[in-house]
């Protein structure tokens, strides 16, 4: 019997199930990537290995434009969501209770209680009126709508981090007569950073994944990658879809790898 109380032997099936889980997650993606190298036009009819469909995708203006829109939209929405969610998390944690705390909490969690399709319909009605009234049809609507439903996702990990944080250091800093802002910058923020990063990542992913709301709200030429892919998927399932999907996968790998390197340097 191990004398360390918590090695994994305590949950005997865990390792097997966990490894099964990784296999389940990866096999479909590996097959997807393999298919993208198929020269043949039709999925499933193997005609040799080539980069043909990648070349096609990278010359496809519609795909490139959608990629650009998605990246800008997700970055901006996640940025706004993370900043406002961090402020909100600071407001709602470590208090002895204040008037309206419950209200704030409910408001901040409201978007995750509303299914995407509901929000999409509702926003379409309202934003259509605003578009008509102002004449502005830019990406701003999507950015702010995405920010709204991303806030709870950014808020959750930040708040969790704050709640789990040790107060000692901050109290110590305050005892040393450090200003509130100084304490925040030098003590709270660094401790909170992993939570903020997690919140930003989560918000980014949620924004990037959205199909329905973007599809309902987009103005002409504002196709995002998911709305573009969905359109392609409906009737045109060539291997180019697999190439585009594989490129997206590659981008995901690169971003995750990048963020790992970044966080590991800091800790």
């Amino acid at each position: 019997m191990a004398d360390r109380a918590f090695d994994t032997r305590r949950l005997p099936g865990a390792t097997v199930l966990a490894l099964a889980c990784f296999v389940i997650l990866y096999i479909p993606m590996v097959i997807l990537v393999a298919n993208s190298f198929n020269t043949g036009k039709v999925i499933g009819q193997w005609e040799g290995v080539s980069l043909h469909w990648y070349a096609r995708a990278l010359q496809n203006d519609a795909f490139l434009a959608a990629a650009r829109t998605s990246l800008i939209l997700a970055s901006l929405a996640a940025l706004i969501a993370t900043i406002t969610a961090t402020m909100a998390a600071l407001a709602t944690t470590r208090s002895r209770g204040f008037r309206g705390e419950g209200t704030i909490h409910i408001v901040l969690n409201q978007p995750i209680m509303v299914p995407e399709i509901v929000l999409a319909i509702a926003l379409l009605i309202i934003i259509a009126q605003i578009k008509q009234a102002t004449g502005y049809t830019g990406l701003g609507y999507l950015v702010i709508a995405h920010s709204a439903f991303c806030i709870p996702f950014a808020y959750m990990p930040i708040r969790a981090r704050l709640e789990g944080m040790d107060l000692t250091l901050e109290t110590a800093a305050a005892d040393l007569y450090a200003g509130r802002l100084y304490t925040f910058r030098k003590v709270t923020l660094p401790l909170l950073a992993p939570g903020i990063l997690a919140g930003f990542m989560l918000a980014f992913v949620i924004s990037l994944d959205d199909v329905v709301i973007s599809d309902f709200l987009k103005s002409p030429g504002q196709d995002t990658l998911p709305t573009y892919l969905l359109g392609e998927l409906r009737r045109n399932l060539t291997s180019e879809i697999y190439a585009i999907s594989s490129l997206l996968l590659l981008i995901s790998v690169l971003i995750v790898a990048g963020s790992w390197l970044l966080t590991r340097k800091k800790t």
């Binding site: 800008i72 970055s75 049809t137 045109n236 399932l237």
Partner: protein, 340 residues
Amino acid sequence: MQRLTLTTALVTLALPAWAEGTLNIYNFGLYTPPDLIEKFEQTYGVDVTLTEYDSNETAMAKIEAGGHGFDIVVPSAAVVPIYIEKGLLLKSDPNQMENFANVDPAWVDVAWDAGRAYTVPWVWGTTGVMVNTDVYKGDINTTAIFLDPPEELKGKINVVPSMNDVIDMALWSVGGEACTTDKDMLKAARDKLVAAKPFWASIDYASFEKFINEDLQASVFWSGAAMRIRAENSGFAYGYPKEGFPLWQDNVAILADARNVENARLFLNFIMDPENAAMISNYTGYGNSITGSAAYMTADLLAAPEMTIPDSAAAAAHFQQTCPPEVQDLYTRIWTDLTK
């Protein structure tokens, strides 16, 4: 890095969304030839943005809500009167345009837009059944393909979620009429659909590849789509159901709140040119209504059985109608019953 993203984003946001020389087209998916757009862009120096939709209903919901930003839409004949009645279309008088003389007279005085004050023909086609004849050797010119399927096709059939087409076809198969108010007929049609549903694999805008790969062996489908599939898998053939099948035309119109009206007019005139109309047909596999365009069509297209309704089937063709709202409501309820 973050600052860079932010700057890029701000620049994008600040860009005027309506630069000069743009045109926003809203059309069904896989329905607009890329080479046509390219030619139009080069001829007039206009930047075209194409957005696609999957059904008339989707398009109308988005347009009616307002603030959509589109200049051109391509409604089916059956919904054109609704667009006009709701004031969604601009009376652009295409009949005054230079190329209008090319429009086949048979397609000018149409019920949905008499004399063509609002719309220009895009393409016309039929909705029928498409079957893999390697799998099923029997008669394919019948709605029984999906309403009373043969053993070989059971579980391999797709039905396009084109609500009116499907219910119309079921009505004809039980001896009724499209948009009927006869509840016994509607009930019989519904019962027939509900009884057939267990034999269908999907009710979907199935991608062409599902048929080419033979994941699916039959479908209620559009003639042009069937032709494009046959080009990749010669086993497939298109049937004209003798019980009745819809004939339709989609039409190009300028929206009442279009911001690039002049460019939109240029486009309407542009597609009435025989060579350009032929490009549309070559790409979509449907017939256009422009005289002289046959000269520019591919030989495959001209010979395609999907393009020409055989004389034996002509009597069964019914032009798609606009149902009154109360009938449309019944259609919807039958459809919900079917797709639940």
